[in-house]
């Protein structure tokens, strides 16, 4: 079995190049998104709809509605992070993906064209910024 997984020298060089490229891109992404307060940014297409701070442990949960291409999606922010409570899409993958809290995490509802990204990791001190 280990012989089967070895690959040729060319395969191993390709693997090394791929892993290096992934590591560099991961480092770049983390350096961009990990700084500053922990917030969830909500986009509809290119438009930033709102920026919400992620609640800390013990803080009350907040939910809000956003309008997408197909209809209204409901988003919940609580101590576990941000998650899509309901969506008008048929696959519901965005809903099943659960709560996200780490910098760089995303929730994407492709049919409704809604994207939620998580940025930052420090404590935040504002209620919300609505565009």
């Amino acid at each position: 079995m280990p012989e089967l997984l070895k690959g040729t020298l060319t395969d191993r060089i390709l693997l090394l190049i791929s892993l290096l490229a992934i590591a560099v891109s991961w480092f770049v992404v983390q350096s961009v998104v990990a700084s500053g307060p922990a917030v969830a940014e909500v986009y509809h297409g290119k438009v930033l709809l709102a920026t919400y701070p992620l609640p800390l442990a013990g803080e009350p949960a907040k939910s809000f509605m956003i309008e997408g291409e197909l209809g209204t999606s409901e988003i919940l922010l609580d101590e576990h992070g941000v998650r899509m409570l309901s969506s008008p899409c048929s696959a519901q993958r965005c809903v099943y993906s659960g709560a996200h809290r780490h910098a760089g995490d995303i929730i994407a509802c492709v049919p409704n064209r809604i994207l939620i990204t998580i940025r930052g990791s420090a404590e935040s001190r504002f209620d919300a910024i609505v565009e």
Partner: protein, 178 residues
């Protein structure tokens, strides 16, 4: 009237039968993968792509490309996503992966099925993200999620390539086209 109907040769019919058998296997795996719990957005183990790789080494580039298209069209029909965004994303991923695997198999010296599968898996994930970003979400921040998913693709691509090598070494296939 001088209509002469040429009968196809036996080897031609045999090739078509093998292609059809591989297509049915790929459709089955496509449907199976759709039923698996999601490991992340648009991430699947890539077992259906493994069949494209086998079609490439056994039946040639044209058969591999047609199999990738046929598998996504018929598979999407069965899981109810035909002509939805999921279908477009699957088609882009499957086609780009097939083209990259064909190019790698033909032009990179010393590459084995493992390396071909690795490049196919990475191309599949990248094509899906580019399609989602350019056609649907239209927000480049989407690419923030790409590095961990590319890492998973690297692992599954390597394992699927090893599995394809194991299958290819044990199954006799007539008229292999390299």
């Amino acid at each position: 009237m001088s209509d002469i109907v040429m009968r196809p040769s036996l080897s031609d019919l045999q090739q078509k039968a093998y292609w059809l058998a591989l297509l049915l296997l790929a459709i089955g795996l496509h449907v199976f993968e759709a039923a698996l719990p999601s490991l992340g957005p648009w991430f699947k183990p890539g077992l259906a792509n493994l069949v494209t790789l086998l079609a490439l080494i056994w039946l040639g580039p044209r058969a591999a490309l047609l199999l990738a298209i046929g598998r996504v069209v018929v598979g999407s029909f069965f899981i109810g996503t035909l002509f939805t965004p999921t279908f477009v994303i699957s088609m882009a991923g499957g086609l780009v992966a097939a083209v990259v695997m064909i190019a790698a198999w033909r032009s990179i010296p010393g590459i084995s099925l493992i390396g071909v599968s690795l490049l196919g898996a990475l191309a599949h994930m990248l094509a899906q993200f580019v399609t989602v970003e350019s056609l649907f979400i239209q927000q480049s921040l989407l690419y923030f999620a790409l590095p961990p998913l590319l890492l998973l693709s690297t692992i599954t691509g390597w394992l699927n390539g090893a599995l394809a090598g194991y299958i290819a070494a044990r199954l006799e296939f007539p008229n292999e086209k390299n």
